[in-house]
């Protein structure tokens, strides 16, 4: 242990990856995973020892970058939020068959309670689906220690290892003891004899799938030392994972009588059935505390030997986060009584657009243009970013938000069903993430779809990270086949409102696909000077070279 510092749980993962000697980190921003990448990025930029930290256009690209780095024999970290893993799922599931060379750790941050997400899917299920190991810390220090362990496991088992954390742990700040930083050491690329393992044509894939299944007992054997069975003195028990483990640990400290309960503490998957059976042999009733899906609860329930309580039988709510209070209620521990809540009605203070945000001007122009073409009731397809806030009253300017990049394809689908005009609203970074192939299809369909790209030059919502689409949006749009006369670039400011309404109206009236780009830098990004250096370099370049 060489130094102690304060860190968020998600940052501890980034620190550990750096200290474990990764050659590179990749990711796509998404709450609550973003700061994990940013922590390792900061360390890598500070070290200047040839390591790289690179945001990718989307999570699949990030994962494939990591896989390529692993192939070449280096340790690598890839970060994303839970729904980001859906985007990277093709890469993730198939990398289980190729296996890895340099240790590959996937940090996935789940969001139970949906603090800033569209669902509360459980990444442990995806690890199980891909037949891959998953480690699940419960404290900031464990985030660090288990990330180290994950790299060792990845290289020992030659498979990618998932590190799953949840919002409360990702955004818990605490003291962290770091180990000595290891320099990146390469194992060399995949050896000649194993090259065929990486070519997933059916003949190889069939063989590699059998190899993967054959590896499962070893995966369980490696997981077991991280899981604990602590016998109690009565025939009741608790099964704990993640924050369930953290909350119960605290509760036990305050109520030592709870040590009578047998405890199954899980920090690594797949869980060995023998461990579950040994636990169940000691109890007649178990309460399971885990975040998101009833993964352990269902597994223990299948054995049929004890009464299993948790999210499925109503002992805990079916959805949402765990809390110390929920544990107390489920275990019959008395909860403290506090001051009376105010009797005054307290309306919700919802997040809103920043004062002076260009998105507001863009939406106002769009709404008025829809009136101009006689279609003010048009259902507009939105996308994921700060501009999703427009779904709220009183603006109510977008009417569907599903997943990254969905707006364009959904608008085309609706147009093919006869909606006219059909409108998509998407941010520049989301456009680069997964809007590009959708626009290619939109052009091919030939239907009247108007794509509004809100270009604020950064990934605004997650903290103004650099957008891969920076300064590239028009070229990308043209490249997908939108003709010059159907591409307009507008400045979303109040002064330009009338001209912007006229331009959007023309696009809505055009019978085929058209694109309107509203470009104004995010005001938070301007305030922080995020693009100052970039823009100065561009200006300098333009005085010496011919610029487009």
């Amino acid at each position: 242990m060489v130094q102690s510092t304060l860190a968020l749980g998600v940052e501890a993962v980034g620190c550990a990856a750096f200290d474990a000697g990764i050659k590179g980190a990749f990711g796509y921003p998404g709450t609550p995973s973003t700061e994990g990448f940013e922590a390792v990025e900061l360390l890598i930029h500070g070290a200047q020892d040839g390591r790289v930290a690179q945001w990718a256009a989307n999570e699949k690209v990030a994962y494939d970058l990591a896989l390529g780095m692993s192939y070449s024999g280096h340790r690598t970290l890839v970060t994303m939020k839970h729904v980001g893993l859906n985007v990277a799922m093709d890469a993730y599931a198939n990398s289980a068959l190729t296996g890895v060379r340099g240790g590959l750790v996937l940090l996935v941050a789940d969001d139970p309670g949906m603090h800033s997400s569209q669902n509360e899917q459980d990444s442990r299920r995806l690890a199980e689906f891909a037949w891959l190991p998953c480690l699940e810390p419960s404290t900031v220090q464990e985030c660090y220690d288990l990330t180290f362990r994950a790299f060792e496991l990845s290289e020992a088992l030659q498979v990618p290892v998932m590190l799953r954390i949840v919002t409360r742990l990702a955004h818990c700040r605490a003291a962290l003891a770091r180990r000595k930083t290891q320099a990146p050491t390469g194992l060399g690329p995949v050896p000649e004899a194993a090259v065929q393992d990486w070519v997933l044509i059916p003949a190889n894939a069939r063989r590699r799938y059998v190899d993967l299944l054959d590896k499962q007992p070893r995966l369980m054997a490696e997981a077991t030392p991280l899981n604990r069975l602590i016998p109690g003195t009565i025939r009741r028990g608790v099964a704990l994972a993640g924050m369930g483990r953290a909350y119960f640990g605290q509760l036990l400290h305050e109520n030592p009588a709870l040590s009578a309960l047998s405890r199954l503490e899980i920090a690594a998957y797949p869980v060995d059935p023998a461990l579950e059976q040994a636990f169940l042999a000691q109890v007649d009733e178990v309460v399971v505390f885990e975040e998101d899906y009833p993964v352990l609860e269902e597994r223990l329930g299948l054995r049929g030997t004890a009464q299993i309580r948790g999210r499925l039988d109503g002992a805990l709510p079916r959805t949402g986060e765990l809390s110390p209070r929920l544990l107390k209620d489920a275990l019959g521990v008395e909860a403290p009584v506090g001051k009376a809540a105010s009797s005054l009605e307290l309306p919700i203070r919802a997040p809103r657009f920043c004062d002076g945000c260009g998105h507001v001007d863009a939406y106002e122009a769009l709404k008025e243009a829809l009136v101009q073409v006689g279609a003010p009731e048009t259902r507009v397809f939105g996308d994921i970013g700060c501009y999703t806030l427009a779904a709220q009253e009183p603006m109510a300017a977008i009417h569907a938000v599903v997943e990254m990049g969905a707006s364009i394809s959904m608008a085309v689908g609706a147009a093919l069903a006869g909606q006219n005009p059909s409108v998509a609203v998407i941010g520049d970074s989301t456009f680069g993430h997964s809007g590009l192939p959708a626009l290619l299809t939109a052009v091919d369909s030939g239907v009247n779809v108007t794509v509004i790209i809100l270009d604020n030059r950064v990934v605004g919502m997650t903290g103004q990270q650099p957008s891969q689409a920076l300064d590239q949006v028009e070229r990308m749009v043209r490249g997908m086949g939108i003709p010059d006369d159907q591409l307009q670039v507008l400045l979303p400011v109040p002064k330009q409102h009338d001209a912007n309404v006229a331009a959007v109206t023309a696009a809505l009236r055009h019978a085929g696909p058209s694109v309107v780009v509203f470009r104004r830098e995010c005001i938070q990004s301007i305030r922080r000077g995020v693009l100052k250096d970039h823009d100065r370099q561009e200006r300098e370049r333009c005085t010496t070279e011919v610029c487009s």
Binding site: L6, T31, P32, T34, E35, H115, S116, S138, T139, V140, T167, R168, L169, H171, C172, R173, A174, A175, R245, A246, Y247, G249, Q250, L251, H253, E254, S323, P324, R325, K328, A335, P336, V337, G338, K339, A340, A341, S342, S343, L344, E345, L346, P347, I348, R349, A350, P351, R352, F353, C354, C386, L389, M461, T462, G463
Partner: protein, 199 residues
Amino acid sequence: MNASRIHGIVLSGVGGQGVLSLAQILLEALRRSGLHALQSEIHGMSQRGGSVHAQVCFSEAALTSPILDEGGADLLIALEPLEALRYVSMLRMDGHLVVSEEPQMDMAGYPPLDDVYAALKAVRGAHLVDTEDLARRLNHRQAGGMALLGMASRFLPIEDGVWREVIAQRFEAKGARVTEKNLEAFEAGRGLIHDPVGA
């Protein structure tokens, strides 16, 4: 302090007011005082002008839960009066509340201010401060947060020197004058609470 018990602080306000920044100063001050401390915060969409809150737990024993129960907080530090009312039930019966009177009313349905103040004053252990007036007197627009922290310090087992160290370090990059102004605001807040009960 009761060694086996977890002590809790809730901080609340509106996105952009610096709730998380105050929480981090608190966390560092507790850590330097030799206590185990955890801080919990929520990032993401809540930052865009919505309600923001953070929690800090501390104890003489090791901690694993960053979350407080209702009725589990000793102290509530609120940068905005309505945002204070949301968390009153987090306070223990003997808990204290330090709150800015300065409202952020740019939202739908903000209750009449007098009702908000009346509700706050009805809470035993509430200490209201007119941060707007304080900021004017100190000629320091952002004095409010530090003044509230100064008030809060009267209820916390952190020595004066530790506070000064942590605050100075926090503002180091912004120069000596900014540091001085923030220390001044902290002291002004500290002076507002006399003879704290239960400190």
